[in-house]
Subunit: 414 residues, 2 copies
Amino acid sequence: MAGRNMVIAQSGGPSAVINASLAGAISRAMASEEIDRIYGAVNGLQGFLERRLIDITEQIRSTDDLDLLIHTPSHALGTARYKLPAGQPAVFDDVLAILQEYNAGYFFFIGGNDSMDSISRLAAYFKEKGSDIKAVGIPKTIDNDLAVTDHSPGFGSAAKFVAMVTAEVHLDTIVYPIPAVTILEIMGRNAGWLTAASALARRSGIAAPHLIYLPEVDFDPDAFIADVAALLETEKQIVIAISEGIRLADGSYIAETGAAEDMFGHKTLGGAATALEAMIKREIKLDKLKIRAIQLSTLQRSAAHIASATDQAEAFQCGYRAVEAALKGISGVMISIQRASNDPYLVYYQESPLVGIANVEQKVPLEWITPDGKDVTQEAIDYLLPLIRGEATERMSEGLPVFFRFDWSKLVTP
Amino acid sequence: MAGRNMVIAQSGGPSAVINASLAGAISRAMASEEIDRIYGAVNGLQGFLERRLIDITEQIRSTDDLDLLIHTPSHALGTARYKLPAGQPAVFDDVLAILQEYNAGYFFFIGGNDSMDSISRLAAYFKEKGSDIKAVGIPKTIDNDLAVTDHSPGFGSAAKFVAMVTAEVHLDTIVYPIPAVTILEIMGRNAGWLTAASALARRSGIAAPHLIYLPEVDFDPDAFIADVAALLETEKQIVIAISEGIRLADGSYIAETGAAEDMFGHKTLGGAATALEAMIKREIKLDKLKIRAIQLSTLQRSAAHIASATDQAEAFQCGYRAVEAALKGISGVMISIQRASNDPYLVYYQESPLVGIANVEQKVPLEWITPDGKDVTQEAIDYLLPLIRGEATERMSEGLPVFFRFDWSKLVTP
């Protein structure tokens, strides 16, 4: 008796290990007699609704392909900024109809908060309609803001990149005999996890970052300038790590205060680091002071050339266990990572109900931020450190990465 | 009979492998009976003139220290933006006097054009004054703009980082089903070598970069906008690699055309990529078009977490051979790398007279730039590819790099 098929899709922003989760799911599915074909939706739910499905079973031809997929950053299946429209049951009907067309008994979605919201609502809808299709979520976010899970795949690799470049940028600035302030702008609109990870750079025996500002705490420009000026009296070169989302007590983003008109009269948003750069230039008059704003931009989420081996292995496990859960008949859950201990670092996996996860932003606990609001505590560092352990590089050939690429044009009909 | 001592200093901007050259020189000197103490000047010639010398012989205690030094980015001895003042013989007298105080028979300087100019003039001065002190230059520049040498240590590692992040950023952008233009701003004020290296990303099987602009060719904004618009009709997401130094036919930098007033009335120089971003925003009206400017900033020169193994080995050799040359009694030369063939990649080293090197900027040959001025030729790629081969990572512990650090406060007197 032939089994049912499965559909898997990726969503949200890129990460270095999102394909490791995909590979984990594929790996478990291929070992199952209950799952026949593995379909991948190109460009997430948006592509799925346009019936843009490829046959992964055909395109992954060997364990070597699977291994290459694990080491390829960003979404091998593409993504989309698409949210299931609330109050439009027709779209939910479409999703169910397409799954039925493709004889799918299993639906998996790899993504962050919005994606978990989508799959939560789909799972409830399938049940309501009497469908036996199992829907399971696989966590992914470099921002680490998913609730219920101890941390999310993708975060550890981005955190590792942030910590490493913080250390390297510090070495780059201390070699000059002139005072310097370097401001690193790190992703995280509402949650400061990635910026907190810059503190790990100190494990390389350096003093940077000297100041760390997260969006969880109001940013006080006067205190900031006073702190920078005071630091410059004892330290020659200082490194400041800030989240892109830091804001004033009135809720306005620092990035907005730096908005300038470009030559064509457009408002340009230079980013929070650029705004702080301008603030220091105006307020601190120090001979030869060099101020540099660096936005890590998308590099921090796609830098698979220095991914965390721990993160990559956990990403694989989450994908693997999502399929396992669905095969057990479980639906409406997300695979979560639970931490048993920091040292030794031990985790286990759970099937956590999606209700209560979706749309809750997990922020850095205030007690992990020092009372002065410009650093993180040892507890935060103990939490972060195990997540960046081990190096997982891309597969290399002649000095350059080799990527696995699905052929998105080979669409299949049921 | 005790030998003479040597002094070594580093200069210019950081690179991932400048300490490999230092380690090469130390390694050769330690094996020599003619060299007694190895002094390192902290912060280049500026620190040397302030008698800020440390005893490397004491601070490098094992081959493990030396190996760690090889894998540590940026200047282990510090640097300075200092140029020997012309027409001030007193400074030259000071250099000679300090070297004599420290009983130095050998003086080495690792750096780029300015540094080679300094050591060239010092070598001539020593000779003129009847001193037997040997002065030898060791090449270092991520810009690859030193003359006479086929390429310079430091360039290959920066080029590798540029190529890798070009590939990763491309994967980051193609996953969305919306049109996007990503502009990568790469270092190189007058020479476009590093930007040319972005073309190597195509070896990862991707289309990026779609357009490449070097400072060697006048930048034509009208042609640029026409090219971007045309590309967006066939390619959904395009990646553009530009040198920070691209300029208009009248010689003005593109970065300057993007100068805006910040909120405090200061002129801000957003960089060339930001200027092009504004230009595209103004000229190309395409629904949902996402435009992103990314400055690789100092990350590209300190990213020792993905250095080129080829570059690192050559950097070591240049340092090693500089000491060897001085021990043979040669002065007033720089160790240069000469290429025998691209495939197989074979190089040999020469002692090249410093006269004719200093102050000549080696730019990308115009025949290596395509006639339309927006790409590089196969010949350029054949030249570049061997330089990024092999991966040399930092030494890692618990997921973070371990750095060798000299104690700069342990200054020594003669």
